[in-house]
């Protein structure tokens, strides 16, 4: 496909959309929102975003980008660098390996799939926190975070489905 400069730029920009959305969700999830208790149970928006693109356009979201997104999130949220990246990379890996299963499935089935991936991710990030900090942390907050993540997933998907129309079809 050969087009003019602007056409190439446009195509390139569209190809960047998955990465851009992931970064946007990172920023969204660190915004200080003054709801009591919210900061300890912020939904894992980035995870939902990566899950979505891993199913629909894994080639536009290579592991290196997932790694970078994870690092940025760790840095902004003040977590140990790499702790969140591991969780996102593993969730990404599992999703990509199972992506065929998710094609042509009903929304409810995909949601259930996300529920399983997110449960693993929440458990892993709790485990990482315990290992890295060297102190036991009560798992309740992690569980509520998981529930909230599950609850916002439809909203994230709705936004990303709309964005997906701009993404070029893979050849």
């Amino acid at each position: 496909m050969k087009g003019g400069f602007w056409q190439n730029l446009d195509l390139w920009a569209r190809r960047c959309l998955p990465a851009v959305f992931c970064l946007f969700f990172v920023l969204l999830s660190v915004l200080p929102i003054p709801i009591p208790g919210y900061s300890s149970i912020v939904p894992m928006l980035t995870l939902a975003c990566i899950f979505f693109w891993a199913i629909h356009h894994p080639r536009l979201l290579p592991p290196l980008v997932v790694f970078a997104v994870g690092l940025v999130e760790d840095i902004l949220s003040g977590a140990p660098m790499g702790a969140g990246a591991v969780v996102l990379l593993l969730a990404y890996g599992v999703t990509v390996s199972q992506r065929r299963f998710f094609h042509n499935r009903s929304f409810l089935q995909v949601w259930t799939g996300f529920g399983i991936v997110a449960l693993g991710a929440a458990a892993l990030s709790w485990l990482m926190a315990v290992i890295v900090s060297g102190a036991f942390a009560p798992p309740q907050a992690a569980f509520f975070q998981y529930l909230l993540t599950l609850a916002v997933y439809p909203l994230v998907t709705w936004v990303l489905h709309r964005a997906q129309r701009l993404v070029p079809v893979e050849v």
């Binding site: 200080p32 290579p62 990246a85």
Partner: protein, 292 residues
């Protein structure tokens, strides 16, 4: 496209691509673990990398935080409208009460001043502060820290205290050119030298990621009871003396917990206190240096 029956080329290409991807994935997971390990050892490069990223993202976060705080202000406004009358009554009573306290404070200040002159006492260090806006919240249940929009450009350095008018928030744990991270007193890694105001017993306030940090290393035989105020002790020189921290909320089985004064849910602005423990003789009191 039928995903269950790939064509000839796809049948050859897909596993190959898969292998390369899997290798990249494995490598990056390993890299993450290496980073976690390096982070534990406090490498300077890591801190530089962190502050470089926060510096870049700060303007974007400032912009994004704007509508959030606007909505918040609006809601606050509506909430206050409803309680206007009661609030007014309450404030009138409070003003009457505080007026008498104001008189007492003025008298004590004058008295203190004359005592200081008599004793040729060198002031308790010079402090000035920079106001900063909270632009990102420590996400997740395990990190208790916030990102603010001031940095070394405004004189914010690692180790300085961050407070609101209500009390101590935490200390600066990283400072970039225009952003800084504040580790809250509730964080697992937070250790603040404090003293119990009444008994003057020194102790360390140790966070444990719960809402109520613990008082540890109290001298033997010191008596602490619920309701006593805890303030920063100024030992170690990095923090000034006397920033209110919280009140003792529970003493059970040798574990003393403090309820911080700070309202964590409404943490929009903090003051970062620049403190010089060995001041020139004639300096006193807090003065705003810059407001952002």
């Amino acid at each position: 496209m039928d995903y269950r029956r790939p064509g000839l080329i796809a049948r050859i290409a897909v596993p190959f691509r898969g292998a390369a991807q899997r290798f990249a994935l494995g490598f990056l997971v390993l890299a993450s673990f290496v980073l976690i390990f390096l982070g534990k050892t406090d490498v300077v490069v890591m801190e530089r990398a962190r502050t470089a990223v926060t510096d870049v993202v700060t303007p974007i976060l400032e912009t994004l935080a704007e509508p959030v705080s606007a909505v918040n202000r609006g809601l606050d406004h509506l909430g206050q409208l409803a309680a206007l009358y009661d609030e007014n009554q309450r404030l009138r009573q409070e003003v009457a009460r505080l007026r008498s306290w104001h008189g007492v404070a003025l008298r004590l200040e004058a008295e203190n001043k004359s005592f200081r002159e008599m004793l040729a006492y060198r002031g308790a260090g010079r402090r000035s502060f920079v106001s900063a806006r909270v632009i990102a919240d420590g996400r997740g249940p395990f990190v208790k820290s916030v990102l603010v929009n001031t940095g070394r450009r405004d004189g914010v350095e690692k180790g300085q205290a961050a407070a609101t008018p209500l009390g101590l928030v935490g200390r600066v744990s990283e400072s970039g050119a225009r952003s800084a991270r504040i580790l809250m007193i509730t964080d697992l890694n937070s250790r603040i030298p404090v003293l119990v105001e009444e008994s003057r017993a020194r102790a360390i306030l140790a966070g444990d990621n719960s809402e109520r940090p613990q008082l540890v290393f109290l001298p033997d035989g010191s008596r602490v009871t619920v309701g006593q105020r805890v303030v920063t002790s100024g030992h170690g020189g990095a923090l000034p003396y006397g920033i209110p921290v919280g009140v003792v909320s529970a003493v059970t089985g040798g574990i003393i917990r403090i309820r911080p004064f700070v309202d964590w849910e409404r943490l929009e602005y903090v003051q970062i206190i620049e403190y010089d423990a060995a001041p020139p003789p004639s300096s006193e009191g807090a003065a705003p240096k810059a407001v952002r």
